[in-house]
Symmetry: C2
Subunit: 128 residues, 2 copies
């Protein structure tokens, strides 16, 4: 299976597949003509990475998760720890964004939004 097909199977762009090979996340074989030859295992790994990325794990974390996944002797506690840590980071981000939203929403609500120059948003950003 060459790269275009693998891209369709995994939903990842070809550029990303090449990048993942470059950083050693996948190691597809090569055909005699130099084309990458993705195996079903490669596709499986890539799908796993894609899912993990979609949940916000960094590429390095994905590498670790992938290793854990391939190691049938791993302790589930290790994985749980990583996931819980990541969950906490996500919660934190949400809280940060929610704070931004609240502030910004207040500013927007206070602004008439007409053609007059008086603007509570800018005043707010300037610090009253």
């Amino acid at each position: 299976m060459n790269i275009g097909h693998a891209a369709k199977r995994t939903g990842l762009p070809t550029k990303t597949l090449r990048y993942y090979e470059e950083i050693g996340l996948v190691k597809p074989a090569r055909d005699t003509n130099g084309y990458r030859a993705f195996s079903e295992v490669d596709i499986h790994n890539l799908t796993f990475v894609a899912r993990s990325r979609a949940l916000g794990f960094s590429v390095e974390e994905c590498r670790t998760l992938l290793t854990l996944w391939q190691d049938t002797d791993r302790a589930s506690a290790d994985v749980r720890k990583m996931a819980a840590l990541h969950l906490a980071r996500i919660e934190e981000k949400i809280a940060d964004l929610a704070a931004m939203r609240d502030t910004l929403s207040e500013l927007v609500q206070g602004c008439a939004g007409d053609d007059r120059p008086d603007c509570p948003i800018l005043n707010g950003l300037a610090g009253e």
Copy 2:
């Protein structure tokens, strides 16, 4: 006021102040010795930018907001539009993160987290 003092006043690192000068966000004068000399207006502008950045606006958006702020003839509608658009982006990010949190939280909850290798989190990432 040289850069170290300006950094303390604005809460921004000196590196960031130099960077902001490089991209033309601020244009501090120079002393005869070549040191940057920040005026009160510079500090005001930097504070404005710092606040806007803290609300998640991109640096380019900050540049625009800064211009609008300095233009006493601007229409508040322009600012409101930018802010509302940004607000929508923030809401979207929050929704994305909330979805991640929910999925991840389910996976974590299903995982015993002991020293056995069976791990619903990895199974979930692998796609059942």
